[in-house]
Symmetry: C2
Subunit: 281 residues, 2 copies
């Protein structure tokens, strides 16, 4: 093999790191791959760290210790996060999205990998410090955003099912009050899905009163799993008091404008504040 | 801003291209971002294309025409694809995965973004040439792999629902024969989910007789959408005659070994043949 130049090596390393977010690569792996010395690769990593920081392209961390190495973390800066959520709010506020019952049609948005991936990165950026072991969601519509959050965090995603008859082996079932209609329903999670002592981040697409999320929190108690946070793509501002505390949402739905048939939807206040604070820093 | 060196520019461009698979970036975008001339960036792209090819890191395409530019396509080489699927087969053949009824527990695998992303890239690599506009799947377990296939292809993912009472506006419902039990069930798809004349790739986690996929094909006929292919992560070898023709699967389940309680599972023949052919080329 020809000797590889630094710029080629930097491009190849970037591609490898970026395609496996949060995976730790030892310098040894790269030494072998490119036939270069550790000192050379250390310099490479320093260059990459600088470039990523300069262009707000995420974070390159050096992890020390026996299992140490280098890893890439997708991160959106507070300004970029606010701008992306504001863009999405504008899309969702377009006429024709309000369905009977006051629901906002979001399925087409949740279907777009690029948008969902960006929202997942925003959620991950906020929750890295809570060190979740898994991202937990309820089928169905929450799965894409939970998957992309899990990808950014580098952890598995676990799906709670509405149906206890699915074929995933022994399961724990709990009853919860369904959001729409106030009926008692059942949610089910495979016994093998999470382990005692793990830390879970709950991610979903939508929250009104928080009954489903409350059910997932109760479910995690059955598994002796700590819930480190609850984050949804969109929450309604009413009721202001949700069934669980400390819920983060990216978007807030204030209602629907009956005269135009459009949803009143905006980025959550904490995103605006973080962007403002970063701008003034 | 300081003048940016080529190696920094190459790293930044790689990160931007890789995080938005199949999105076309004009040279102008990069010119503006880095304050460099088009001729310089053309050279950059040539270097990147060479590096990606040399290390099997995916494909960099130059797209000509009015909407032209450069795009990154995640691609796994036939040898890498075969090796990855073989690894997965080995994981799934571990004792303790066979559930009552002969089902193989795969939920933990479908929960891991890195594995699912790799499998999605393998499916995308095979189906790029069919130019799908959407990836279609049936809730629930197929969603992660469909999402990652859609991400690699750069198209939206559309979810067919089992429940016609969900709030996604007017929907088309069709009846189909359910796989387990032979009951008639209903699947439902929002009228806005796909458009007449589009091309759909059907992706799911598992196939036995192909009843669910048959239902999705029938559903697409109702929408005047062309099905360009059907691909599943794992299919049973029995029945050999599925309810639809030309199904691709990455894994084949030949049955379960009653004495050891393990699944007999292997990479599909077409993957082995492609890897063999590439090796001899």
């Amino acid at each position: 093999m020809d000797r590889i130049r630094r710029n080629e090596r930097l491009a190849a390393m970037t591609r490898i790191l970026v395609e496996s977010p949060n995976k730790i690569f030892t310098l040894g792996t790269f030494c072998e791959m490119f036939g270069a010395a550790k000192s050379t690769l250390s310099e490479d990593i320093d260059i990459l760290r600088g470039v990523f920081a300069q262009f707000h392209l995420g974070q390159l961390d050096t992890v020390t210790g026996a299992a140490g190495g280098v890893r890439y973390r997708p991160i959106l800066s507070p300004e970029d996060a606010y701008a992306a959520v504001k863009d999405l709010a504008k899309t969702l506020a377009a006429p024709g999205r309000v369905l009977p019952g006051g629901f906002v049609y979001m399925a087409d948005i949740l279907a777009q990998p690029e948008i969902v991936s960006r929202m997942g990165t925003i959620i991950a950026s906020h929750f890295y410090r809570t060190e979740p072991d898994v991202v937990l969601t309820m089928e169905t519509k929450g799965i894409p955003i939970a998957m992309m959050t899990a990808r950014a965090l580098g952890v598995p995603m676990v799906i709670v099912r509405r149906d206890s008859k699915v074929y995933e082996g022994p399961a724990v079932n709990i009853n919860y009050l369904s959001g729409s209609g106030g009926r008692v329903e059942t949610m089910s999670l495979s016994r093998r899905a999470v382990k005692e002592g793990q830390r879970a981040l709950i991610v979903d697409d939508f929250m009104r009163a928080g009954n489903t999320a409350r059910g997932m929190v109760d479910m995690m108690r059955e598994f002796s799993v700590t819930v480190v946070g609850v984050c949804v793509l969109a929450a309604t501002s009413e009721p202001t008091k949700k069934r669980i505390d400390g819920v983060k949402s990216l978007l807030v739905i204030d209602g629907t404008d009956e005269t135009t048939g459009t949803a009143l939807i905006r980025p959550a206040g904490w995103l605006a504040q973080a962007a403002e604070k970063a701008k003034n820093a």
